[in-house]
């Protein structure tokens, strides 16, 4: 461990870090997905923090001088006080801090919890879950007195925040997870100093247009007759899923993934977040859906809309924390 840190100290290589906060770990895996390129990366860079893959302690990071880490990839949103502390710490210690993946960029799946209250989340997690055995109704407390003294665990926040809600971010890489090919291009651009000027609003390793731009399916310019869910009907191959009635987030989603899901006959879930110039992905999708409903009366429109299960969870699946409203009241 200390050997690694020492080596990282003065060999002229780039120092890179990867940290996970409120995320699933998929982002860490996706960085490995660049395959043999990882060897090229190691040629020019040393890893100085990567909790998922190597044994570094927070104290190591504290001991680094400020701005020691050249590039820090931060995946996951901020759900508790520990994650916020580390985000602030890494901001101090990093020259370039990159929000990596949908959670750090837009809140991702964890931010769907913003539609629930903290009490509701605790009730579901610690009391109501059918597979749970908690007769004493114990809930985690931030501070516990024990025979070893006062024990403290991170505080649970009322809301999942994206990284840029807490610290200044230099670049954002969207996607759940970001596609390896795009990430490798971004790393090359970063090493070569070709990235655009730093700005937390700049999304790299993706394109500005929508997923429809990359989608190979045929558009027949027909309106939606009824909404279907993927398990309710077989999608006809080669024909726009949205026109067939499956809610495909393509029109409201940034491209860069290469239309992976639609190529596998599944509707786009919207993980790359809103496309360029759009702030609120869900509102953009509502706008898009509204213009292609085959309804001549308001009643018919309402009837069709009633068939959409969980509009918030569908339209804001990955972007609750970056949407205009950012959560439930």
């Amino acid at each position: 461990m200390s050997e690694k840190t020492d080596k990282a100290g003065g060999n002229g290589k780039l120092k890179i870090g990867m940290y996970w906060a409120a995320s699933c770990g998929g982002c860490d895996i996706s960085l490995l997905e660049i395959g043999p390129h990882i060897l090229e990366l190691i040629e020019v860079a040393d890893v100085v923090l990567w909790p998922c893959a190597a044994d570094f302690k927070y104290q190591d990071v504290v001991n680094y001088p400020d701005q020691f880490i050249d590039v820090c990839f931060f995946n996951g949103g901020v759900r508790n006080s520990e994650q916020e502390e580390i985000a602030r710490l890494l901001r101090r210690k990093s020259k370039t801090l990159i929000a990596y993946g949908a959670c750090a960029t837009d809140g991702g799946i964890p931010a769907l919890a913003n539609t629930k209250t903290v009490e509701g989340i605790f009730a579901a997690s610690y009391h109501d879950c059918p597979s749970l055995d908690n007769p004493a109704h114990v809930e985690p407390q931030p501070i516990t007195q024990s025979e070893y003294g006062e024990l403290e665990i991170p505080r649970f926040y009322p809301q999942v925040l994206r990284l840029s809600d807490v610290v200044e971010v230099d670049y954002q890489i969207p996607g759940c997870p970001p596609q390896a090919e795009r990430v490798w291009e971004a790393i090359l651009a970063l090493v070569g100093g070709q990235l655009p000027a730093r700005n937390s609003a700049v999304k790299v390793a993706c394109f500005d247009k929508s997923v429809c731009d990359e989608c190979p399916r045929e558009k027949r310019k027909v309106k939606i007759k009824e909404f279907k869910r993927p398990h309710e009907a077989m999608a006809e191959a080669g024909w726009c899923l949205l026109e067939q009635g499956f809610i495909c987030m393509g029109p409201a989603t940034r491209s860069g993934c290469g239309a992976l899901c639609v190529k596998a006959n599944l509707p786009c879930r919207g993980c790359y977040g809103p496309s360029g110039e759009v702030q609120d992905q869900g509102a953009a999708m509502i706008g898009a859906l509204g213009s292609i409903l085959d309804a001549s009366t308001e009643e018919r429109a309402r009837e069709m809309i009633d068939h959409i299960v969980d509009p918030v969870g569908t339209f804001y699946r990955f972007t609750m924390a970056s949407s205009d409203l950012k959560g439930r009241r």
């Binding site: 602030r88 539609t115 926040y157 809301q159 409203l325």
Partner: protein, 168 residues
């Protein structure tokens, strides 16, 4: 310790001197002319409505409405030509499908249905417009302030919960 950070879900009592702020998006050809007709006819309605004229109700991106709420509006009105009267033939057909879907989403996000009103107002319906504004203002007044920006700031959006840098 954690309790201090959890915002209680309580109904905010209407602050003293608080007046509802309602944003109304009106289409140029019918509804704005309708509002104009209300003015010309000297009909009285509360001054709580800020009118934004757009060329067609089909141009009102749902994002404009979420933005209005997110920036502190207490209510939003969307008015356009009656179905069949659209100056651009089918602009309001799109509004007709978008607004109920948006409303369902807003309700799921905790915005009371009365805060978002979607109604057709023709150029001749000045009386209807004035009545609508009176009704909506009254309903929103009863609901109290929405206060979205303050609420989100209390939850750490934009600044985090702890302002202290760590490891200093």
């Amino acid at each position: 310790m954690a309790e201090a950070h959890i915002v209680q879900q309580e109904v905010t009592p209407a602050a003293v001197g608080w007046e509802p702020r309602i944003i109304a998006f009106l289409c140029y050809w019918c509804s704005y002319t309708g509002a104009d007709a209300a003015g010309t006819a000297r009909l009285k309605y509360p001054p709580n409505v800020d009118i934004i004229r757009v060329m067609c109700s089909g141009r009102i991106d749902p994002e404009l409405i979420t933005t209005a709420f997110a920036h502190g509006a207490d209510g939003v009105m969307v008015c356009g030509c009656h179905i069949g009267d659209c100056h651009y033939i089918s602009g309001n057909h799109k509004t007709m499908a978008r607004m109920p879907l948006l409303k369902r989403t807003l309700v799921d996000l905790g915005i009371e249905p009365d805060r978002f009103v979607h109604e057709w107002v023709s150029a001749a319906e000045g009386e209807k417009f004035a009545r609508l504004v009176r009704e909506v203002t009254e309903r929103v007044r009863r609901l109290g302030p929405l206060g979205w920006p303050q609420r989100m700031r209390e939850r750490g959006v934009g600044c985090g919960m702890s302002l202290e840098p760590w490891g200093a």
